[in-house]
């Protein structure tokens, strides 16, 4: 480092350097450790002559403070990961709860809608063995799990055997389908004694 640069640092710390030179020197000092070392040593002399008898002489406290800040920022950088994981868990739970709520609401809505039945709507006959998707259904339906209430004491294997051999009487299930706000609504009805009744 040149003598002129050192003198500029000395002038800078006393507020005796021009603005342009000061700005240039400050930028330079940000990237040049040797310049900063001179700055620190010149301030050490200031510290020594300003030191109170009760206080110890401070030597390059800035370096230790910056090290501590960098250590704490490194630990802060790690903490968002756990925070992010926590947020992710909460978000996942919220989505799952929303889906469950939507399913319950749509189920209730179907039950409420069962009050105003339009008998003019087309009906599609289905059996427990074979489900027929209505031609205008938006979503395909899967086969219902058979209920073995007629033979509650039988083991599942025996019940499967009965089902496979088709010895069980097929119980027809009827669905009435209509549209509400362009959404298909499906209602299960039963055929009893020559007339349809809502289930």
């Amino acid at each position: 480092m040149s003598e002129q640069s050192k003198q500029n640092i000395s002038d800078l710390m006393d507020g005796e350097l021009s603005r342009d030179c000061s700005r240039f020197l400050l930028k330079r000092m940000n990237h040049d450790a040797d310049f900063r070392r001179s700055w620190n040593h010149y301030h050490l002399l200031r510290s020594a002559v300003q030191q109170d008898s009760q206080a110890p002489l401070m030597l390059d406290l800035g370096n230790r403070v910056v090290q501590r800040l960098q250590q704490s920022s490194a630990s802060v950088v790690q903490s968002p990961k756990s925070g992010h994981r926590w947020l992710k868990t909460i978000t996942g739970s919220a989505i799952a709860a929303s889906v469950a709520l939507l399913a319950v609401m749509s189920f209730n809505q179907n039950n409420v809608m069962s009050g105003d039945v339009d008998l003019g709507m087309p009906e599609y006959a289905k059996t427990s063995k074979q489900l027929i998707n209505p031609p205008n259904a938006v979503t395909a339906r899967v086969e219902q799990q058979p209920r073995y209430t007629r033979y509650p004491d039988l083991t599942p294997q025996v019940q499967h055997y009965i089902m496979d051999k088709n010895t069980q009487t097929a119980i027809p299930i009827y669905y009435r389908v209509w549209h509400n706000n362009q959404l298909p609504v499906q209602q299960t009805i039963q055929y009893q004694a020559g007339r349809y009744t809502d289930e």
């Binding site: 003198q7 507020g15 400050l26 050490l44 300003q50 009760q54 206080a55 002489l57 406290l61 800035g62």
Partner: protein
């Protein structure tokens, strides 16, 4: 002459520039700010905290708080005035926390009395640190005493009395350029005297870090 003064970057503006750079994340700028005010802050803390070994820890705490509060510093007051308030509050909080710790350990009255009586004289630094600091202060005192009288007068008027170059020039009856040169030469002489010692200390720190 007046135009020259207007073109200079005052110490307050210099602090503002360093604060702005530190706010932008330039840690080197913040390090320079800390080293600029480290001793004044330590002197303030020493008025309240009598244990010399704790003063440096409290001073570190002060500057960590300063860094975290930098975004809220608007520059209404000077940087040092703002730091001074933080230093006073931190030192007071330190004493309160310390008295709580002492109460929690249920020190007997006699023990507490001897503890506080001894406290002013205690120095819990490691022997190496005490020796290094003592050696540094000795080298510094020797270097200052060996300065030529005109350099010593110029640096004392500047650093202790806080006079501007213009005021020192009037005091010493010499041109401002001479004052500028004398102050720089005084600082440089101390720098040259301290460098071997400080470089040795830095090297030993580096060795400790690598171990």
């Amino acid at each position: 002459m007046k135009q020259d003064n207007n073109k200079k970057m005052s110490e307050k503006t210099l602090d503002s520039e360093l604060v702005d750079q530190a706010k932008q994340g330039h840690m080197a700028a913040f390090e320079m700010l800390v080293n600029r005010y480290q001793q004044r802050v330590a002197n303030v803390i020493a008025k309240l905290v009598k244990d010399r070994s704790e003063i440096e820890d409290v001073a570190q705490e002060v500057f960590i708080k300063v860094f975290r509060a930098l975004p809220r510093f608007r520059g209404d007051s000077s940087f040092y005035t703002w730091v001074y308030r933080i230093a006073i509050n931190t030192a007071k909080n330190h004493l309160v926390a310390k008295s709580r710790r002492i109460q929690n350990t249920q020190v007997e009255y006699e023990e507490a009395e001897s503890f506080s009586a001894n406290e002013a004289h205690r120095n819990l630094d490691t022997p190496d640190a005490v020796y290094a600091r003592g050696e540094l202060e000795q080298v510094m005192a020797k270097a200052i005493s060996q300065l030529p009288e005109d350099l010593k007068t110029a640096i004392i008027l500047r650093e202790v009395d806080g006079l501007s170059y213009e005021e020192i020039a009037a005091e010493m009856a010499c041109p401002i350029g001479t004052v500028r040169s004398r102050i720089f030469r005084a600082r440089d002489a101390i720098d040259q005297a301290l460098r071997p010692l400080l470089d040795k200390e830095n090297n030993s720190k580096e060795n400790v870090r690598t171990i």
